[in-house]
């Protein structure tokens, strides 16, 4: 959008009077008793603990909460003095998951989609499409396939699609939670450029305050118990409420994401004579039926130590983790287990039976839902021990132990799919712990988590490391790597030798 055209859009005003929303089939209100007034052109960072109803409010403002069958409303929520559903298109909403926001197969068509729905004339649509792509800095041909975009590019594409609709209200719902650090900055810079030229009212939800702090002039904190907890200038709110916000799971700069506990002692790598659990002479990795993404990887995984796999998107971090975990076949070289670790099984984990794998290597997938196979939390935790044909009494004892340790005992009979994000993550780690494997492999264990869940994850892994388990994790999260890991292996993204291997400085 050209600066002139953007400025011609006036910002929307928002008024909430005792507004509340309850999702169909739930007992509690997602948002309740909300009184709020936002004037045109204000830039707001919306904070609050998980479950405070931030997303619900944004969806409501965008008019996509759905009708009576989706839930129940009370009080009043008005955008420019009217119900949000009455004027779709005046609010543009950018969501968290990059994959689920790409609608069409070609870049230009995807940006045009919103304009088409609003009935914008054809010539005007393409003018807007080009302007919007310029604005977000996505310098790609209109015919470029959307399936070939990175996560950050997909988010900028979705932002362009929203901007092309010329909304008076721009809503961002954790737009960078699923991106690598580079993608986060790209998206942030795009939004900054947009705001420079736009009079639109702007609201963003984000756990990581530092990213957006400089772009907003107001912070509103929702109270999980209903209503507003704090409201004011960013500096005021963040200083006065810093501690309280951190306790509620918000990432406030300077609060609570340092090391959770004192550093562990020397790692056993330096202990003479201790053979590594795994070593990977000349390893090359590839997804099934795909090209090699990295080669000449020489790693050693030692008991009681944590190894972080880092690098840009597409460098093969997850592929390497799954290969180390005995789930993907090496494309060259080998993954070799020490005789003690293999404990009678083959030297190569990829040749192990599924049942041999669970007592040796536990893998926690990026999406916990991928690994759930049972109808209750209790049954889920029993899957591994049962596959090993342990006696029923032993299974129950072990499941109870894990339930308690992960504070999931009150959810023992719940369906795994109905848990919150943090609970799902704990359960996915628990399913692995149930069979006591000496090596844990985790793929992005802190993706999209609020501070509280993050601290829980760090504390749990720290405990396991102290007990002598080895941990290998893929992560973009520099705080996480600094808090927990002994070594970092960085994949460079070129299919040549991967270079860096450094001790993490704390």
């Amino acid at each position: 959008m050209t600066p002139a055209a953007a400025a011609s859009v006036s910002g929307a005003s928002i008024v909430a009077r005792g507004w509340g929303w309850r999702h169909a089939g739930r007992r509690g209100w997602a948002v309740d008793g909300l009184d709020l007034r936002i004037t045109p052109g204000e830039r707001v960072l919306l904070l609050g603990a998980s479950g405070a109803g931030k997303s619900t409010l944004l969806h409501a403002l965008a008019g996509v909460l759905g009708g009576d069958e989706e839930g129940e409303q009370r009080g009043q929520l008005l955008v420019n003095g009217a119900e949000p559903t009455a004027a779709r298109g005046q609010a543009g909403l950018l969501l968290q998951d990059p994959d689920s926001q790409v609608i069409l197969a070609r870049v230009g068509d995807d940006v045009a989609f919103g304009c088409e729905n609003l009935g914008v004339p054809r010539e005007e649509i393409w003018r807007r499409v080009n302007d919007a792509l310029d604005m977000v800095g996505l310098d790609l041909p209109l015919q470029h396939p959307t399936s070939e975009l990175s996560g950050g590019q997909k988010q900028r594409l979705a932002l362009a699609g929203v901007l092309a609709m010329r909304p008076g209200l721009l809503l961002l719902d954790e737009p960078t939670a699923n991106l690598d650090p580079e993608g986060v900055l790209d998206v942030r810079d795009s939004v900054a450029r947009v705001l420079e030229h736009s009079a639109a009212t702007f609201i963003v939800i984000e756990h990581r305050v530092a990213v957006w702090q400089s772009l907003v002039n107001r912070v509103i904190v929702l109270d999980a118990a209903g209503g507003v907890l704090a409201d004011g200038h960013p500096d005021d709110v963040l200083t006065r409420q810093g501690e309280r916000l951190a306790a509620a799971g918000v990432w406030v700069p300077g609060y609570g994401h340092g090391p959770v506990s004192p550093r562990r002692g020397t790692c056993s790598e330096s202990a003479p004579g201790a053979a590594p659990l795994l070593r990977t002479p000349g390893l090359a990795i590839a997804r099934p039926r795909a090209d090699v993404v990295a080669r000449d990887i020489d790693l050693r995984v030692h008991a009681g130590t944590a190894l972080a796999l880092t690098g840009p998107n597409g460098a093969g971090k997850s592929t390497l983790a799954l290969t180390l975990a005995g789930l993907l076949k090496p494309a060259g070289g080998a993954v070799l287990a020490s005789p003690e670790f293999a404990d009678g099984a083959d030297a190569e984990p990829i040749r192990w039976k599924s049942r041999q794998l669970v007592t040796r290597i536990g893998t926690v997938f990026q999406d916990p839902e991928h690994q759930f196979v049972a109808a209750t939390v209790r049954a889920e935790l029993a899957v591994g021990p049962r596959a090993l044909k342990r006696p029923e009494a032993a299974i129950n004892a072990r499941v109870d132990e894990v339930l308690q340790r992960l504070r999931l005992d009150h959810l023992a009979e719940a369906n795994p799919y109905t848990l919150s994000g943090g609970e799902k993550r704990r359960l996915s780690v628990g399913t692995v712990l149930a069979t006591r494997p000496p090596l844990l492999v985790l793929d992005e264990p802190t993706f999209g988590q609020d501070l509280r869940t993050w601290r829980e994850t760090v504390a749990l892994l720290d405990e396991l490391l102290r007990d002598g388990s080895a941990v290998v994790a893929v992560s973009h999260d520099t705080d996480f790597v600094a808090a927990l890991f002994d070594r970092e292996y960085r994949l460079t993204g070129q299919a040549g030798p991967s270079i860096t291997r450094a001790a993490v400085s704390r």
Binding site: H59, A62, G63, V64, R88, G89, G92, L93, L95, D97, D99, S100, V102, I103, L104, A105, R106, G108, D109, A112, F113, G114, C115, E116, N117, L118, G119, V120, R122, I125, W126, V129, T146, S147, A158, V162, M165, P288, L322, A325, L327, L328, K353, S354, R355, L357, V358, T363, F365, D367, E369, H370, Q371, F372, V373, V383, G384, A387, Y417, T435
Partner: protein, 258 residues
């Protein structure tokens, strides 16, 4: 298999609706009869026309491979178990190869090729987005239905990734050694749950961009139906008529309902 072939030849610019119409027309006429003459004539014409299909020989072979496998398979089945008539060449149990079943087998094989090959060849050059544009703007199907289908098609790739992840996860959970059928069912169910989630997320994203808003929708890409579209349908009609004509003239026309 899902990605369309791209190129610059005339065939790539023809409205997919015309390709759909031509393929349906040819198929519609060819299933009216079960003789080998009409199918052979159609197939001969098609092989000449394939030179303009915009496919290299390798791409042609690769994309039409399923048809080349299906056709003789159906033929052999007909040969062995088809309606017996005339001289018996070989009989063994239920197998009964006769003059009649041999003729029927040849006719079946040729017919599947004559219908299958042009359908595949016309459709590998169709871009789903263009087809959706055509169905909505030329055929006037409801936009909601057409665009919903188009957006859903994009999820297929994600389903394949989900399926692979589910497979690995089951090995990691210790339950991949046995009970293959049960595991397959539970995995299929898990995929269903995941796909419903992905679907509803996509629906929200579409609504957030004004999909389903009241008022008339415009189309960023015009879908036109002009001379070359009618020409393609004309060619399809000509092939159909020629094959029927030769078949009737040689007295081999065999109407399927008699």
């Amino acid at each position: 298999m899902l990605t369309p072939t791209r190129g610059t030849q005339a065939i790539f610019r023809i409205n997919p609706v015309a390709k759909l119409a031509a393929a349906l027309l040819l198929a519609g006429v060819l299933i009216l009869t079960i003789d080998w003459v009409s199918a052979a004539v159609a197939l001969a014409c098609e092989f000449v026309l394939f030179f303009w299909a915009g496919l290299s020989l390798k791409a042609f072979a690769l994309r039409t491979l399923p048809v080349w496998i299906a056709a003789p398979t159906a033929g052999v089945t007909t040969l062995l178990y088809g309606q017996a008539a005339g001289q018996v060449y070989w009989a063994f149990g239920l197998v009964n190869v006769t003059e009649g079943s041999l003729e029927l087998a040849i006719a079946t094989t040729l017919r599947i090729l004559a219908i299958g090959l042009p359908s595949v060849v016309l459709f590998v050059t169709v871009d789903p987005t263009d087809l959706a544009d055509g169905l909505a703007q030329v055929v006037k199907l409801p936009a909601r239905f057409v665009l919903g289908g188009l957006a859903g098609l994009r999820l297929v790739g994600l389903f394949l990734e989900d399926w692979r992840a589910l497979e690995l996860a089951r090995r990691a959970r210790g339950i991949a050694d046995r009970g293959a059928l049960r595991r397959l069912l539970s995995q299929a169910f898990a995929l269903l749950v995941l796909s419903i989630r992905r679907g509803s997320k996509l629906a929200t994203a579409m609504e957030a961009r004004g999909f389903g808003a009241p008022g008339r929708r415009t189309w960023a890409r015009p879908s036109t139906f002009r001379g070359r579209e009618f020409a393609l349908i004309g060619i399809g009609l000509a092939v159909a008529l020629l094959s029927v004509g030769v078949s009737v003239a040689t007295g081999s026309w065999n109407f399927v309902l008699t």
